[in-house]
Symmetry: C2
Subunit: 325 residues, 2 copies
């Protein structure tokens, strides 16, 4: 890994998407029907091509968030699908060990004790060599019927994460609530919501080693940094001490002014380079002539960031947070 490493943001490959089609045979049978060549074909034309074109060298390869689908079926379905998805990531990573390192999803289901995730969390780290997990704060898919992330409901997962020394990317999956467009609303709102849950609670007092990555540049948080500082202050808390030793924002913000705001108001130590690749916004920005999600350009172009800042964002922070890498 050189100067421009891993997007710790979920994305997927063509192969894994196919499982979401309910007209197909059961996932257990499908597992056998994707060859290594098919995986290579899928990756060579997408993630690997974009790595080369955009100048990144190592990608943290995680499930396509929108396909985690924790609200589809029940806990048993979630467990089967999670196993298949994580196994597929493991195969991709094994085929390209210099390009990819794995992060997995958990077999969450709405209303189901997250303790059910422990065996798969152990398996993905200890057997598959993954360096982190995705954790969905709303397994209901847009109805938010499970407890907030500061609730003891979630503590079994946090205990295991700390024991294994892995961070969690806090990321919802697709929304089944018609109010929430998944990439335009549900994702960004979940980011914002979880951050505020962390502000209003004392979770990191109980888990000082716990590490959360909030994607999409922290949702609305940096734009409303004054609001969050003010709300925290009214609770006799300071964001720096209270959450910013444990929370990291990625750089999935798809225009220069947004990245400039992020890097201006959020401490550099809390920013991890990322791009949803291939992800939510795939077009070319007519204002720049480059892809909206080619986030490396925004960091490279930032006049306010020093070389040391860029090195921290591109690599050093990520290595610190993903300490098993």
């Amino acid at each position: 890994m050189a100067t421009t490493p891993p997007p710790p943001t979920p994305f997927g490959i063509g192969g894994t998407k196919a499982f979401n089609n309910t007209s197909l045979p059961s996932p257990d049978k499908m597992k056998l029907q994707i060859s290594d060549d098919q995986i290579r074909d899928s990756l060579e034309g997408a993630q690997l091509k974009l790595q080369a074109e955009r100048g990144t060298d190592l990608t943290i390869f995680s499930p396509r968030a929108s396909a985690m689908g924790h609200h589809e079926g029940d806990a048993a379905v979630s467990e089967i699908w999670t196993t298949i998805s994580n196994d597929m990531i493991h195969r991709a990573v094994s085929l390209y060990p210099d390009n990819f390192v794995g992060v997995g999803q958990l077999p969450q289901a709405p209303g189901v004790d997250p303790g059910n995730c422990i065996p798969e969390l152990e398996r993905m780290v200890n057997e598959l060599g993954f360096i982190g997990c995705n954790l969905n704060p709303d397994p209901s898919g847009g109805y938010w019927t499970d407890p907030p992330m500061f609730d003891k409901w979630w503590y079994p997962v946090y205990e295991k994460m700390c024991e294994l020394d892995v961070p969690a990317m806090i990321h919802v999956t697709r929304s089944c609530n018609p109010n929430f467009h998944f990439t335009g609303s549900h994702y960004i709102c979940a980011d914002t919501t979880v951050f505020m849950q962390l502000v209003e609670s004392d979770l990191f007092n109980d888990f000082p080693e716990l590490k959360f990555i909030i994607p999409h540049g922290g949702g609305a948080v940096p734009y409303h940094w004054g609001r969050y500082r003010g709300l925290a202050q009214a609770m006799d808390k300071m964001l720096d001490d209270h959450v910013m030793n444990n929370v990291y924002f990625d750089t999935c913000v798809y225009h220069q002014p947004g990245i400039d705001l992020l890097t201006k108001v959020i401490p550099i130590k809390n920013i991890l380079f990322a791009s949803e690749m291939v992800g939510a916004v795939r077009g070319i920005d007519p204002e720049t002539g480059f892809n909206f999600d080619d986030t490396k350009r925004y960091i490279d172009s930032s006049a306010a960031l020093s070389d040391a800042d860029k090195q921290a964002i591109f690599e050093d922070n990520t290595r610190r947070v993903f300490s098993r890498m």
Copy 2:
């Protein structure tokens, strides 16, 4: 109204807050127990004092959003409370006609046809002289169980708004879902969610005269303006034509970098000066020595805004949107 006019953002007065205490007698009795002097006392020490101190001259006086409480009780309760709340605003505005102009809430309730709002909407405009309304996109208080705002479910309200020529401030009330802190999450997420509902739908084709104000600087939208431009583009839509003839963002963003981003990426014609006053974030920012929510300072201090831009944001845009003013 001189150069620094109306915050089109909800806030309330001490008097209206008291109704939210369920240990008090029924609202109908309470209505009689607040004297004009009590109203004056409440306002002189808060809104009027802050107007004078901060240099604004006319406030669009609307219900405290968190106290609209559409998820409390049922539609009948909502109707009683709405009438009392709007009557109280009318009394405040009548006592200080040079300082205030009224905007009212609607008797929404989760699962109830919004057509029930028509009589109160007509009353507040035609009888009370109000110039706009608050419209809650999630009467459930954080479970989002009603249809999205592009659904025909809402059309009776939109038809009446257009007929009366009044805009709506799109604002949720307090959350009863423990996942959503009201001012730190529910408000900002609702802003973001409704904007995306407008992007993905063609609501303004059906209602080209409809005007929505999205508070808190548009939620997460300006920070993720590249994402929204990209998502719209992928749907063969351009934000400028598709939504920005009908949607306005206020300036309730409580730090200079946020306001600078807002005014940089969002067309000036779509920005309306506002401050939640007295509202969500009441403390003094230790980084500036001034109140977080003293938003006039951020606009005044903006190096990028011309005098004409500031005049548009402070007054001209607001007069255009609130055309009955």
